[in-house]
Amino acid sequence: MTAIDDRAAAAPHRGQSLRRKEDPRLITGRASYTDDLNITGQLHAAIVRSPEAHAKIVSIDTSAALERDDVVAVYTGEDMADLLGPLPMAWVPPGVDVQNPPHWPLARGTVKHVGDPVAIVLSEDRGAAIDGAEDVFVEYEPLPVCMDIETALEDGAALTHPEIGTNKCHEWSLGGGDIEAGFAAADVIVERRVVNHRVSGAPIEPRGVLADYRAGALTLHTSTQVPHFVRLFAALILGINEEKIRVIAPEVGGGFGAKLQVTGEEMLCSWASRKSGRPVKWIETRSEHMAVCHHGRDQVATVRLGATKDGRLTAIHSKILADMGAYLMLLTPAVPSLGAFVMSGVYDIPAVQTDITTVFTNKCATDAIRGAGRPEATHMIEVCMDQLADELGMDRLELRRKNFIPKDDFPHETALGIVYDSGNYEGALDLLMEKLDLPALEAEKAELAAKGIRRGIGYSTYTEICGLAPSRITGPEGFGLQTGLWESAIVRVTVTGNVVVYTGTSPHGQGHETTMAQIVADKLGVDPAQVEIMHGDTGTGAMGLGTYGSRTTAVGTEAVARAADKVVEKARSIVSHLLEAAPEDIEVHDGKFSVKGSPDKGLALAEVSGVAHVQPEKMPQGMEPGLEETSFYDPENFVFPFGAHACIVDVEEDTGKVKVVRYVAIDDCGPAINPMVIDGQVHGGIAQAIGQALYEHVMYDDTGQLVTGTFVDYALPTAAELPSFETDRTETPSPVNSLGVKGIGEAGTIAATPAVVNAVIDALKPLGVTYMNMPLGPEAVWTAIQEAGQ
């Protein structure tokens, strides 16, 4: 047998693009999302929301609503005095003062942004609940609004929370190396103002909640990425014992961070169910989603990047102003700091410094949206690398290659003391250039320019930090998250020899029912069709922390693998006992637990399980019956996926319209489990980043009114705007986990915005445009062209 045959026999399903186990229910319309669920006796909720960005609530008149036959109840913030605390924020960095004004499910006394909830109306019928909400009359006394982070800290600025006396939320710094010496050693320093504007996660399924409190117990169906967090905080806020709460994430129609939250609506509907004695259902409208589901990004940074004249990087300093919006939600103030961990990117930079100031404004809260801090950091670095190359008169890829951390220098400790697990940045860039066919692209440039079309090519070489996370680094005494970030899994072999896996993660489109099954099937010598993955339910087994931060494969699947390994160990003991062979001589081969060297002599998992469940007396003496194991896994380190992306754009000179004509992505997330699924994650990430770079922008006017309140004004890219993507992979194993894997869910979003922006700037250089900030809509691009031509 060759080595490849051996590997295929040992792991026949890993690395295969198996079609997904979750798809049959989804393609036939038979999946159950939250809005597809109903409980007998349920009431429908509609939420009365503030039209004002900042105002005192003078009075709330619910009488007209209550007079309606079909309205059952109306509650306001005053009715909710029995809550044990406000909505949670889970980041308490040691020694750092973070202002955290209370944030209630229904406003108490004042409203702080458009969409702030003021009252809830319950009715037998969804339409009637909305009618009832229109009959709740709220008198507001408008207060001055703070809308601009760059002036929010000036004297005399309107205060979002007057009681704090400032709009500043907190300051936080992370640095390593001698930053002053670094810049002193530089021959060239570029400084740019880098804007990463506000975006919406906008999963196509809006959020939804169906809460059912009865006989002292709460069952909460919610479209969430984090059912276990929701349970914990529901217990703390509502004063219900944790074991009496079951949180279920049914089919979840996308998250992108928007559903990594403990929301006011979850607490409100649960509370209202307890209060009214009826199940309560609330389904978010898209307009509500745009106004009140947390947004992402919204940072303005001043980035300085220094290098010697031969292109050696000496220092990077990034001063970030981040918009928190009106309240801190689960991770709001921690998001910008996540980027600080990788502020030196794929480069060996001796001095790195990030200084973050966070600011309150009268806007919806920001929080984690796909990438959370790392897209912003990567954008700062990669855009400034191009700017520096121009300043140095050096080829931008040569500058990058010159400063890459070399592949034989891993694990690599950065100036910040962060240890990158593994990498081969040249390898990824080499493969990218192979795919790109640069000469052909360049050759078309002149021809296109004659037609008024400017072609540009942009690059991004990136790494990111994911697989959240080693608890010792991210936890209370480290970074300050008030939780460990481990995962757990239970692997249970049924009597008939099939497998049920319980994971504490909560996937919502990423395909883990398939990829986890591939891993388990290989370990136990069964077919993935025989392995069922149960997730998203606090009532059915494994504890966990949920799905976000590209953690589910690197942490959750590793926990599953470890539990499966324990099952294998037990099965080997049983088989060795039955076959009278040494346990170390039993291997899983071709679907059987067999004795090394005599593959015919062996037992299939079903036979082993039969013994463990039906005839436990045949097991080794003293061994417990059953074939089921649990594993808790807390990673030793983060994992650091990486890659090299190129974007090719054509820009119409006359209109400023940008068209992405090709996008080539090389990503490395370790040895693939299911290449098709990886590609899918990359595609979606790139599309979301192209959306941000070119089309998407959550905008408020000066009075705090939301301008982009629907999909009419907030432009998600459609199929017509995007090209097909060209993807490939290199595979550099991570030493952190036994599977060698890294996360891939956010990579596209992290890598792609600078590739797009660099491409547009490259296209416009012949016209005199040297720098631009996102979003690069036609008007912005056209204006830049006109201004450069003057």
Binding site: S17, R19, R20, E22, D23, P24, R25, L26, I27, T28, G29, R30, A31, S32, Y33, D35, D36, D70, D125, R126, G127, A202, P203, I204, E205, P206, E251, V252, G253, G254, G255, F256, T285, R286, S287, H508, G509, Q510, G511, M676, V677, D679, G680, H683, G684, G685, I686, A687, Q688, T710, F711, V712, L716, T718, A719, A720, L722, S724, F725, G748
Partner: protein, 163 residues
């Protein structure tokens, strides 16, 4: 309760007589009254296409039509297009090509694509992209959706030629 009016429709081949509020949208008739929850709601401005069904053989955003307007019409939803064991070639192609992730846009996307292929059985990539412009997907970046539709078109054509 407001007054209701009778509506007679054929849904997935079955005649149904229902009473609806005059303001009721087709999507809510399908989901709430007929229990066909495969048709989804993703927006309130007729942008996302998650609610796409066929009305008299043509694709239609069911959040944009009042239930009373479909009196006498024939409606097909994702549940009527094909079922497990008897999948429509588009459903099969979406499965084979990873044309979906969270699945929320998928029923609408498949119904829109089915209509597109009826009108244009052999579309180019560009025609597929423009043909699906009214349907938003946040997960797939459309890459594998387009691939799925082209794959299904090829298979449908082979079937037709062979028939």
């Amino acid at each position: 309760m407001s007054t209701t009016v009778p509506v007679q429709v054929t849904v997935n081949g079955q005649a149904r007589n229902v009473q609806v509020e005059p303001r009721q949208l087709l999507v809510h008739l399908l989901r709430d009254q007929l229990g066909l929850t495969g048709t989804h709601v993703g927006c309130d401005t007729s942008n996302c296409g998650a609610c796409t069904v066929h009305v008299d053989g043509q694709s239609c955003k069911s959040c944009t039509v009042l239930a009373v307007q479909v009196d006498g019409a024939e409606i097909t939803t994702i549940e009527g297009l094909g079922q497990e064991g008897n999948l429509h070639p588009l459903q099969e192609a979406f499965w084979n090509n990873h044309g979906l992730q969270c699945g929320y846009c998928t029923p609408g996307m498949i119904m829109a694509a089915a209509d597109l292929l009826q009108r244009n059985p052999d579309p180019s990539e560009d025609e597929v992209r423009h043909g699906l412009e009214g349907n938003l997907c946040r997960c797939t970046g459309y890459h594998n959706i387009v691939k799925s539709v082209l794959d299904a078109a090829g298979k449908l054509n082979v079937t037709q030629v062979g028939a």
